[in-house]
Every structure is written in structure tokens, then in C-alpha cells.
């Protein structure tokens, strides 16, 4: 951030490129990725209870390879009963 609260353009360029390269390499648009996330969560919700506010699903890159990383915190059964 600079004095005006605006992000410096170098960091902005890197962030934008990270997203663009994920889409270029996987042929997955951000819209498709959103749909994919929704479907994954729909399936998981049928089986277990999870904290939907804390869910994180994103494509991460590790050198030249991409991975879809999902972090889905589950609610425990005892906590559910107590609620």
C-alpha cells in the first residue's frame, strides 16, 4: 500500500497474473471454478455438517503444477447436539 491506500502496481500485477495463469493453465474460468466449488460443497453437505463461513476452496500453484485445495472445517456431532 502507498500513502493513498492504493496498492502498488507491482503487487497488483503479480496478483492479477496469478489468477490469469491459473485460468490459462487449467482452462477453468472463474465462473466455472465458482460452480465447481458450489457442487463440491453440495455433495459434502449431504454427508456432513460443516462451517460454510470458514470454507476455503482455491486453485493454488506450486511451481508449474496447479492443485485444487479445499479446506472445509467440519462441525462435530456433539457441538451440533448442544446447539
Amino acid at each position: 500500500m502507498n500513502w493513498f491506500g492504493r496498492q502498488r502496481s507491482g503487487s497488483r500485477a503479480k496478483e492479477r497474473l496469478q489468477l490469469v495463469l491459473i485460468h490459462d493453465r487449467t482452462d477453468l474460468t472463474s465462473e466455472e471454478l465458482r460452480e465447481l466449488k458450489d457442487e463440491i460443497l453440495e455433495v459434502i453437505a449431504r454427508h456432513v455438517d460443516f462451517d460454510s463461513d470458514a470454507v476455503q476452496i482455491a486453485v493454488e500453484h506450486d511451481g508449474r503444477s496447479q492443485r485444487l485445495v479445499a479446506d472445509i472445517p467440519l462441525r462435530s456431532v456433539t457441538r451440533r447436539r448442544a446447539e
Partner: protein, 266 residues
């Protein structure tokens, strides 16, 4: 002697491929090696002017391929460096005049008598690029620390992976250390992190490169040019020597201080 074939490619045009080919070739030849440069940009030749050899062209690579001359006749010898030759591109033809197997054949004929064959790939990822990478033992991907150049470099690297062209290496050209320092330019580390292939050189932005092109004398021959030093370092790394990377400005600054103390330049 069996030459190693190195192709310089970039995807995006205007990032400095031709300049890099000319300078690395000059640096290698100045060290006494035998080097042939091939201009792979059929229809848009430029390596001849950057090397200052445009007035000596009689035959070109398409003449060789189509049997109008012997390979030797199309090899233009440099004015100053005895081991340096250029095989120019045809100017009045297009890339369909050459096939990947033609390039492999030309390079195989050159290999026994030389140390390095450097191929200047055209921009783009079509036929001309395919021709240029076909004979390559190694590919150097040239990029600028700039959003569209990095994106196109990533496409090229993806194609090289798919073609199983092993160990591509990255040349980051025209890095402006002052802009990197104020975080208004992607740093060398940023570009490496995004593209995920090993680095072979960082070339700082340097006015002397244009002046060198104007004269037809690549800056690798100018001992005072920072870019020239960077290109000489690439040539040394290509030969397997360990040369530290300079201009990684986002790092501690220790190297800067060391340079000032020892009086060494980039």
C-alpha cells in the same frame, strides 16, 4: 565438436529475443567459441541488422533448404569475431517455406563444426515457433517483467512441456531496478515464482542496448554496459560456469553494498 542448439523464444513480440540472441552469440564468440546464429523469423528478418551484417547477405536459410546454395554460402561471417556466423532469414517468403524437419537437417549439418547454434524464434506460437524449437537441445524463454509478456511466456513454457522439450530456462529482460524498488514493477523473484522454471539471466534496462543496435554492434562487446555484462553472464552460465545473479533488487541489498565495496558492476 558437437554444437548445442539453443532456441530463444518468448510468445510475445518485442521483448528482446533478437537482441538477446545477438548478444549471447557475440559473448560466446568473444570467448573463442564457434557460434552460428540462425534467424528463424522468415519474412521479418532482423538479426542481420542487430549484428550489423545486413549488407553482406547473398543467400538465406530458405535458399539452403530449397537447394539453391550450399550451407556454407549462406553463412555470413561477422566483421570482428572470427568464430561468429549468421544464417539470415528470407525476407520475401513466409514461414511455410520452412518445416521443422528442415530446421533439424540444417542444424545437424552445422553441429559437427561448431560449439553453439543459436536460433532466434519469431513471436507467436505457430509454425515459425514450431520450426525454431524443433532442433533445440535447450530453449531459453525471454520475457519482460510486464504482465502480458509473462502471460505469453507461460503459454510458451506450457507448449514446451507438452512437446517434452526439456529444461527451458528464463531470461528476464529489461528489468528496471528503480521501478522494482518502489514496487511498481514485477521483481525477478515475482516472475520466477509465477513461471516456475529456472533462471539463466536477468538483463537490466539499459540505453546502451538501443545504441548498440543502432550501430550494429551488440553491447556484449562493450565492457561498460550493464546489459552487456548481463548477456556475458548468460553466456558463461550456458557454458556451465557459476555466476551470481545480479539485480535481484528486492533482496537484502547486501549484494548492492558488496558491489559498491568491491567496485564490481552488474
Amino acid at each position: 565438436m558437437t554444437a548445442q542448439v539453443i532456441t530463444l523464444s518468448s510468445g510475445k513480440g518485442g521483448v528482446g529475443k533478437t537482441t538477446a540472441v545477438a548478444n549471447i552469440a557475440v559473448a560466446l564468440a568473444a570467448d573463442g567459441l564457434k557460434v552460428v546464429c540462425i534467424d528463424g523469423d522468415i519474412g521479418l528478418r532482423n538479426l542481420d541488422v542487430v549484428l550489423g551484417l545486413e549488407n553482406r547477405i547473398v543467400y538465406d536459410v530458405v535458399d539452403v533448404i530449397e537447394g539453391r546454395c550450399k550451407l556454407r554460402q549462406a553463412m555470413i561471417r561477422d566483421k570482428h569475431l572470427t568464430g561468429l556466423y549468421l544464417i539470415p532469414a528470407a525476407q520475401t517468403r513466409d514461414k511455410t517455406a520452412v518445416s521443422p524437419s528442415d530446421m533439424v537437417r540444417v542444424c545437424n549439418e552445422l553441429r559437427p563444426d561448431h560449439d553453439y547454434i543459436l536460433i532466434d524464434s519469431p513471436a507467436g506460437i505457430e509454425r515459425g515457433f514450431r520450426n525454431a524449437i524443433a532442433p533445440a537441445d535447450r530453449v531459453f524463454v525471454v520475457t519482460n517483467p510486464e504482465i502480458s509478456a509473462v502471460r505469453d511466456a507461460d503459454r510458451v513454457i506450457g507448449i514446451l512441456e507438452a512437446e517434452e522439450k526439456r529444461n527451458p530456462a528464463l531470461i528476464i529482460n529489461r528489468l528496471n531496478p528503480a521501478l522494482v524498488k518502489q514496487n511498481d514493477m514485477l521483481s525477478a523473484e515475482d516472475v520466477l515464482d509465477l513461471l516456475g522454471i529456472p533462471l539463466i539471466g536477468i538483463v537490466p534496462e539499459d540505453q546502451s542496448v538501443i545504441i548498440g543496435s543502432n550501430h550494429g554492434t551488440p553491447v556484449a562487446q562493450d565492457p561498460r554496459s550493464r546489459a552487456g555484462q548481463a548477456f556475458r553472464n548468460i553466456a558463461r552460465r550456458l557454458r556451465g560456469q557459476e555466476v551470481p545473479f545480479l539485480g535481484m533488487e528486492k533482496q537484502s541489498g547486501l549484494w548492492d553494498r558488496l558491489q559498491k565495496i568491491t567496485g564490481r558492476r552488474a
